[in-house]
């Protein structure tokens, strides 16, 4: 460890994102602490996925800065980096709300594609690989071992040589997490990992995420609708509504925050109180 505290793994600093006249995210700031699980929640259309797309380089924020900070103190300005370098250099990986696997490739191939840059260098940018130099074979074996490790972690090792598109929905979600982990991320961004899972699968996912947290300094940032998942595993929660942050804190604090309840019920504060009064009487 370095002597100084490296600070939070991700700093989102007053980012704004507008599409034409629509303000999807409005000067939003939050941080994701190292080795913790940070959840981003909010009603539909609150701008959560937009924030994700800004962090992972699919959108470029119209204003503000996003910084990823490695444990060794290096800082990467994510808002100004091309999309593919965010994963390669800043080690920020992500999954997608609507699963994006390589359906026609086997599970193992999916996880090897995730290690593309490492393997490209090992194959001396194809030329060494084409000539069959031994360095590449070794690197590929290591890549396969890493892939096997993650397939085992998500419980899909027995399906390694089958097509990813043939997997049931819940398995596809877990495979996508394994694929993102094969890129060796410092920060893993999960876009609704529990969507469409049954309660058992959801519990398994919780256990998996909890076991991954802090492993090799891994931090997690997740968007989630399933409050059971969010409240159980998150260390910190950031609540968005209409592109603005309305609350931030530990799960217990968020649970009792009137602004959050109002945002989810879609009514004003006084009305909530009124509703509560009516219920009591």
């Amino acid at each position: 460890m370095t002597s100084a505290d490296p600070g939070p793994v991700l700093e989102v600093d007053a980012i704004g994102m507008r599409f034409g006249g629509l303000v999807a995210v409005d000067s939003l700031s939050f941080t994701a602490e190292r080795g913790q699980i940070t959840a981003l929640i909010g009603p539909n259309g609150a701008g959560k996925t937009t924030v994700f797309n800004c962090i992972t380089g699919f959108y470029r924020p119209t204003s503000g800065e996003i910084r990823a900070r490695h444990a060794d103190g290096r800082v990467y300005p994510l808002h100004a980096m091309p999309g593919h370098r965010i994963c390669e250099e800043a080690n920020v990986a992500r999954t997608f709300q609507n699963i994006r696997l390589f359906a026609g490739m086997s599970l193992l191939e999916n996880l090897l594609v995730a290690q593309h840059n490492k393997l490209m260098r090992a194959s001396s940018f194809t030329i060494g690989g084409l000539l069959g130099l031994p360095g590449f074979a070794r690197a590929e074996n290591e890549a396969v071992e890493l892939a096997k490790h993650w397939l085992d972690r998500v419980g899909l090792l027995h399906r390694a040589d089958h097509a990813a598109g043939d997997l049931p929905y819940g398995d596809q979600r877990r495979l996508e997490i394994a694929r993102a982990m094969c890129t060796g991320p410092a920060l893993l961004c999960l876009d609704e990992p529990a969507a469409g899972l049954n309660p058992r699968e959801s519990r398994e996912l919780n256990a998996l995420l909890m076991s991954m947290r802090g492993e090799n300094g891994l931090s997690l940032l997740l968007i989630e609708h399933d409050m059971g998942v969010v409240m159980e595993i998150s260390d910190r929660i950031v609540v968005l509504d209409y592109g603005k942050k309305i609350a931030e804190g530990r799960p217990q604090e968020i649970r009792s925050n009137p602004a959050v309840i109002a945002a989810y019920l879609g009514v004003e504060d006084e009305e909530v109180e009124q509703v509560e009064r009516e219920i009591r009487t």
């Binding site: 699919f58 990986a93 696997l101 390589f102 490739m105 840059n117 490209m120 390694a160 890129t183």
Partner: protein, 485 residues
Amino acid sequence: MAVAAARSEEVAVEVKSAFGTAVSDAAIAAVIAFFLATPILSYKTVEEATSLGLVARWPQVLMGVAAVFAGRLALNLLWPHFGGVVAILKASWARLGAFFHAIGGWRTVLGVLLVCTVAASVTGHLAVNRWYDLLLIAPLAVGVWRRSPAWLFLGLALFFPFAPGATRYYIENFGILVLIYVMLGWGLNVVVGLAGLLDLGYVAFYAVGAYAYALLAQNFGLSFWICLPLAGILAAFWGVLLGFPVLRLRGDYLAIVTLAFGEIIRIVLLNWQSLTGGPNGISGIPRPTFFGLEFKADGGFADYFGLPHTSLHRIIFLYYIILGLALVTNWVTIRLRRLPVGRAWEALREDEIACRSLGINVTNTKLTAFSIGAMFGGFAGAFFATKQGFISPESFTFWESAIILAIVVLGGMGSQVGVALAALVLIGGTELFREFETYRMLVFGLAMVMMMVWRPRGVVSGRVPTIAIGKTHRIGGDLVQEGRG
């Protein structure tokens, strides 16, 4: 009783109406056939002494219409009974497959072929000179050992110039031509089949290769073997040059721009008279030499080896050059598929956004696919120039691009064996049936339609994973994406 009578009457009415619908449907088909046949069949132009005359052929039109009516009626009436036939066919097909596996699959089939070939060779039925038979027997033996039918095709390809009945005409117009298209198909397969980029102007790189060799040979006196790599490199360079601005486009837009690029190259070749000779083309392109030996009457290849001189030597040599080039293309493609770059191509075809999220530089990866495909096109172009000895822009029209793309799509995108088979059927078929010129395109079109109905993903659909921990499982064509540019 009354109820039963009424019911039987009902049934009779139903049968009658079913027959009535069948007849009226057939009548409609006949009317359509009449309207279609009238402009095509009714009058034929014949040359008379001084002018063109017309011969009416109404009987043919009527016969056609009657045939359509009868056929459609028979189909309508028999179709309900067809289900059983289809079921029987399917069951026997499945049984055939089970039998195939029971007897040991490809190993047995190839083994039987090997025994037959050896027997034919020993009894002197196979070739004129026994020594050549090894060209067929050796790959077959490897095929038995490796359980792969691909070796059978390799053996047939190697043996073809010495096969009984392979005349100069067949080697040149069937063998060499098919192999050129096999190579072009394999080259385009990298771009369309693996990377999923729809390229409608592949012929441009073929043209660049051909003109690169022709111009280098004419202006600098360079030999074929020096120009061959240069032509490939130049074509790859043009691939990169075109790719940089274009590969940001997707799907239809990419197709349109590549189509335009193909035409631009052709029109530049047509109009840059001072360099390319315009529509007159370039003639007198030097032939390839065999380690410095030319194929000529005195002091050439035949003299050196003490053989009687015949022009067949040069043709056979050309055949083996293109076979070698095609095999190199195949070997490189198969190896690239197993390297990270090849997997990235296929991943790109599956999902470009996911690729970006995994840190793959999408533009660079597309560029490598585009330029490697272009390079193979350039090699084929240089070979085409040296084979013809004369090139002109006429050889590089959009029609060529369309044929090559058809080969890749019909063969099954991404499948090497499928592409080779499609080239053999499409190019070889049209060459073999040249005598039936009138009906050739009709059969070709019909074959295409039937393919699209029964095997929409090509002859060989699906793909085999490039790496496996345990047993490799073939992935069905329905899961494999086609790419959206």
